[in-house]
Subunit: 274 residues, 2 copies
Amino acid sequence: MILVNGEAHSDIPATDRGLAYGDGVFRTFPSRQGRPLVWRRQYAKLAHDAAALKLQTPNVDVLEREVRAVSKDHEGCAVKIVLTRGSGARGYGYRGDEHVTRIVSAGPLPPRIAERQAGGVKVRLCSLRLAAQPALAGIKHLNRLENVLARAEWNEPDIAEGILCDTQGHVISGTMSNVFVVLDGTLATPRLDLCGVAGVTRERVIDAARRAGMPCVVKTLSWTDVLAAHEVFLVNSLAGAWPVCAIDGEARALGEVTRAVQRWLEFEDDAEVL
Amino acid sequence: MILVNGEAHSDIPATDRGLAYGDGVFRTFPSRQGRPLVWRRQYAKLAHDAAALKLQTPNVDVLEREVRAVSKDHEGCAVKIVLTRGSGARGYGYRGDEHVTRIVSAGPLPPRIAERQAGGVKVRLCSLRLAAQPALAGIKHLNRLENVLARAEWNEPDIAEGILCDTQGHVISGTMSNVFVVLDGTLATPRLDLCGVAGVTRERVIDAARRAGMPCVVKTLSWTDVLAAHEVFLVNSLAGAWPVCAIDGEARALGEVTRAVQRWLEFEDDAEVL
């Protein structure tokens, strides 16, 4: 089911700036029987990203009602919200009074979530390097060709994810996930001030670690750091936390910190935080 | 008028990857009474850019027929062709057998083309810096948020264009145009191997200069080079060549090389070149 501006539609205008320029933002997250998980954080991040593009975010109640509507008939599903700057005259400029297009849809959850959480996933290093653009870094916007190109680098079905570095060789993220490592006894995740997407689950892990008294730092990480790490795991809102069990064909042990993070993520912490 | 995959439609599926990820390419160019200008170059560039994303380009006759159909009732109009990877399952990956979505539409030509060609345009230096991504450089793809952000830097109606540098301070392009300068008696335009869009009119100017025996180089240019240039002009397929008559409020003389380029662009050179 797809709702476009609240109405059941499967189409959007061909003149929409989301299509023309990728002029918009999005979120993807799980919903269970019509109840979106970690909803307040998802909404807050959507509003944050929209504001970065000077887009108006629809009212939280309007969006929540639509999320519930598209997901109510599913035991579990993946909800996607897209906000675009709507249709406008040709050209990059905008007036500021465009009507935001909101698209709320539900689809299947990714396969083998529990299996991958338990047994881990194999990953590879992508050859594409992410470009440094501080004006867009961290934002989950609709300009995602780098992710598309990186994901097209491999076909092996047993490789679940590719890790991306920036042009300086710093590790940034997976193609669809954020990366954490346990290095020298400390949980660490890459800085995302030049590129990458700052996901909600990354933020939840950082907050939960702080609450649990576990040191967690946001820092520059090299590929050597990842290879030297005691544990490596990937997070996103649909997958939770995936332990990495092999990097470029080399087996890795799963670890206790990753297991603790998985337990933290079982709790929906909206009430505590926002 | 808009044709989506050859049929009169104003909508596309909300699941299209062009919207989801900007996974596609586009062209914008003039058509006179149903006759697209410099069509073979436009098609060749569209096909080149599509191939860079491993997208299939529709047959040239199919596209030309649609371009003629949308533009036949206009004395002069701007035609836009968008190709996307069509609809697919959620996720950045694609199978490779997706049906390309083609969207062909006609809109008004930009205002005051002749006036600006004659009297020149005022430009400014944008503060946004273009990110270096060699995997996408030169391609007119649908990930255009940098252009949107740069164009939003100014509101003054008498400023026609903003000039963009990369993170190293090298001049790359306008938000919607390519840049040429006459420096030390030589025509020069920026390298676009790290960012920017390599436009058809830029290519036409380079070729025409070579045919005319005028030295024309593609090189790294700094902002200081632009300020020191004897002539600065901007080109795109809809505007032709615009002399720059002021940069950040400082008046500039228009020059003879720009006038020669304008005369070259009056000829449609498809037959000679392709």
